[in-house]
């Protein structure tokens, strides 16, 4: 689904990302792990054509992302709070995203019904703007919005950060469902090694922009990662 060749990103001669080759097959759930500054968000931003690569290219379903915009119709993402529109209520935000993804109001209402337990009555019908919600609730709204419109590629940067324990567990269940859905290629990053090993089939470790580990997730993976990050 995602094909990376010779990808580098430099800021003032400073190499922040260098991926000679990487292939993420259809339907895989792919995890990205690394310390701060390892290049995780840079990689996601490159896939979404929010920044330009210095060299190389990324193909999303055979579409070169910085040449054509056709990948946008089947790719959705939530990177950070700058993906939220602060002056909208959560409902209005969902409808807005829905309209952009060809879903009408009824579709969205039906879609939102399945997230009732994640929302915990704190998102919908609150008469509050997104900017006035707590960080955790903002995150929930952004994550759910990223699932609108049956996307084939879902990119989530640090989905577990800022969430309360109950929601983390619910989110893990939800992401597992997505991971098992063979029509969805899921890309997530996380600092929580436990969560990410539970959700993904494959984990790639970035260090200073380079891929230093590429492992298929097994029950031993968590131990292996913990050893790797213990200095």
């Amino acid at each position: 689904m995602i094909n990376v060749t010779n990808l580098t990103k430099k800021y003032n001669q400073n190499l922040v990302l260098n991926i000679p080759a990487l292939e993420i097959p259809d339907g895989q759930s792919f995890g990205l792990v690394g310390n701060n500054g390892a290049g995780k968000t840079t990689f996601f931003n490159l896939i979404l054509d929010l920044i330009r690569p210095t060299t190389g290219e990324i193909k999303n379903k055979d579409i070169i992302v910085n040449k054509s915009e056709d990948w946008k119709s089947f790719t959705s993402s939530f990177i950070d709070e700058s993906f939220l529109i602060g002056y909208l209520t959560p409902e209005e935000y969902f409808y807005f995203i829905g309209e952009l993804r060809g879903q009408n109001k009824a579709d969205i209402d039906k879609f939102l019904g399945q997230f009732k337990d994640i929302f915990n009555d704190e998102i919908l019908g609150q008469k509050k703007y997104l900017r006035d919600l707590s960080k955790g609730n903002q995150k929930k709204a952004g994550l759910v919005a990223a699932l609108i419109g049956n996307p084939e590629v879902v990119i989530l940067d640090e989905p577990f950060a800022n969430l309360d324990p109950t929601t983390q567990i619910k989110l893990k269940k939800l992401l597992n469902e997505l991971a098992n859905d063979k029509h969805i290629t899921l890309l997530i990053s996380s600092h929580d090694l436990g969560h990410i090993t539970e959700v993904t089939d494959r984990i790639v470790v970035l260090e200073k922009g380079n891929i230093v580990k590429d492992i298929k997730t097994t029950p031993e993976t968590l131990k292996e990662l913990e050893d790797f990050f213990t200095l």
Partner: protein, 489 residues
């Protein structure tokens, strides 16, 4: 401790990227301040001889005293809208061993260091000196000076209370309107009473203790209020706004741009700054009266009418349009990763600008009572603005690199304004004036109007062509714009 606070303020001021980036803007604000200082200074010096000349039988001090109340009321109103309340980043200090007493006193004393408190000195001081020169008792003059300045500072603290407390706001609003009405209908000659009070102080300088006590009293009330409420969930809390939803289904008539149009309307209405840009547009409608009623302009500078016509109908394009796409800067990444076409996004902004220009044009129709030629000017302004200005502004937006934080307040907020914005406003107003001027010199007034309308219609006819060019420019600049909008101050 105070020294440390001041050091913090100093760093906050000079290290803000805002300061480092927009020198041109700071020069502009500096000039504005200089202008006001000069005007006030001239007023302070000239008021005595002027009153002596126009009303030789009256004592200038008595006349000034009886009018002071009007100045104070105006001062109160201006401060309420424009004066920024002194805020310090107190959150990190609360848990440190700094007493709340010190923080409170510092906040309150800092509020005195405001342009609004220095400005009156430029009137009071020269006027007092004039009084001394003209042989008034020096104790009386000093007492008068202390009193009037104490009242000015009291207004400073009163505004503080009005801003923080809804009950006091309601009370102040009622009193304010009551006073204005009573002055207007002459029911209660408040000016005379204030004049008499100040007269008593001049006659008996010891009485100047009264306004000083009022000032101290207000300081104390403020002190109590802040000291008791210096908690995260109280005074320091961000204001939350209640949701106002409106049915915007009528926008569906605009087809596939409706989704953006709906959003833009919500953006304008739910954010202070954009709302102000919108409301200010309507306040400019009567602007033309100032020029049309003055025969000097009619004879010597009819070109100024072109300015009025373009400005009045195009003010929304100027105010709102020049910050496209910066209005959406805080969620620009979202828009750029969604399945949308730039064209639809730009189209919706264009429709919005045209619609508002049309509404503003409709509101200028009453000018027809001042002559058909006036209406023709506004017709010209309308066509020129929708055909030329709107597209020009959209094109320039592709080079907009300044983020706007929608949550910040509107007044005197120049965030997102760069040299480009000033040049743009300048160009938009100057180009049509020049074109009009030259055509009029050679072919007359009607021909000039015709040419301007023609330019506008030409723009409309070739709109698709221009929109394509504009869209391409936006796409070319996409990554630069995303990067720039990511830079927070």
């Amino acid at each position: 401790m105070i020294k440390k606070f001041i050091a913090l303020e100093w760093k906050q001021f000079f290290r803000s990227s805002y300061w480092q980036k927009s020198i041109a803007l700071n020069i502009f604000l500096g000039l504005l301040a200089l202008y006001f200082i000069t005007v006030f200074l001239m007023l302070g010096i000239a008021i005595y001889p002027l009153l002596k000349k126009t009303m030789p039988e009256k004592d200038p001090l008595v006349v000034v005293n009886s009018f002071l109340i009007l100045y104070y009321l105006a001062d109160l109103l201006i401060r309420y809208f424009f004066q920024k309340l002194p805020t310090m980043q107190v959150n990190p200090l609360l848990v440190l061993p700094v007493s709340k007493k010190k923080i409170t006193n510092y906040i309150l004393l800092k509020s005195v260091v405001s342009f609004f408190n220095f400005l009156p000195l430029f009137v009071y001081l020269p006027f007092s000196i004039m009084l001394l020169i003209h042989g008034y008792n020096s104790f009386s003059v000093i007492a008068w000076f202390i009193s009037v300045y104490a009242v000015s500072l009291s207004i400073n603290y009163l505004v503080f209370l009005i801003n923080k407390n809804n009950k006091i706001f309601a009370l102040a609003a009622i009193l304010f309107i009551g006073l204005i009405l009573s002055i207007y209908f002459n029911v209660f000659p408040i000016g005379i009473y204030v004049g008499k009070l100040l007269g008593a102080i001049v006659a008996n300088p010891v009485l100047s203790i009264i306004p000083v006590l009022v000032l101290l009293g207000l300081y104390y009330v403020n002190y109590r209020l802040i000291h008791q409420n210096l908690y995260l969930d109280d005074l320091l809390q961000k204001k939350k706004t209640s949701v106002k939803t409106a049915n915007l289904s009528w926008t569906e008539n605009f087809g596939d741009t409706a989704v953006f149009l709906k959003n833009d309307i919500r953006l304008i209405w739910r954010n202070k700054r954009s709302k102000m840009a919108f409301l200010m547009s309507f306040m400019m409608i009567p602007y033309g009266l100032l020029f049309f009623s003055n025969p000097v302009y009619k004879e010597k500078m009819p070109i100024i009418f072109v300015f009025v016509a373009i400005f009045t109908t195009g003010i929304f394009i100027l105010n709102f349009g020049q910050f496209i796409p910066a209005w959406d800067s805080s969620y620009y990444k979202l828009l750029m990763s969604q399945n949308i076409r730039y064209r639809k996004y730009l189209e919706s902004k264009w429709i919005l600008m045209v619609a508002m220009t049309f509404i503003l044009f409709l509101l200028t129709i009453p000018y027809v009572f001042l002559g058909v030629d006036k209406l023709l000017l506004f017709v010209m302004g309308f066509f020129f603005n929708i055909g030329f200005t709107s597209l020009f502004v959209l094109y320039m937006g592709a080079f907009n690199r300044k983020r706007i934080d929608l949550n910040r307040s509107a007044f005197m907020n120049y965030q997102g304004t760069g040299v480009q914005q000033f040049l743009l406003a300048f160009g938009i107003l100057l180009i049509p004036m020049l074109v009009f001027y030259f055509v009029k010199e050679f072919f007359g007034f009607n021909a000039a109007i015709g040419v301007m309308i023609f330019i506008g219609i030409l723009g409309l006819i070739f709109k698709n062509y221009f929109m394509n060019k504009i869209e391409q420019t936006y796409i070319k600049n996409k990554h630069k714009t995303i990067h720039a909008f990511n830079q927070k101050n």
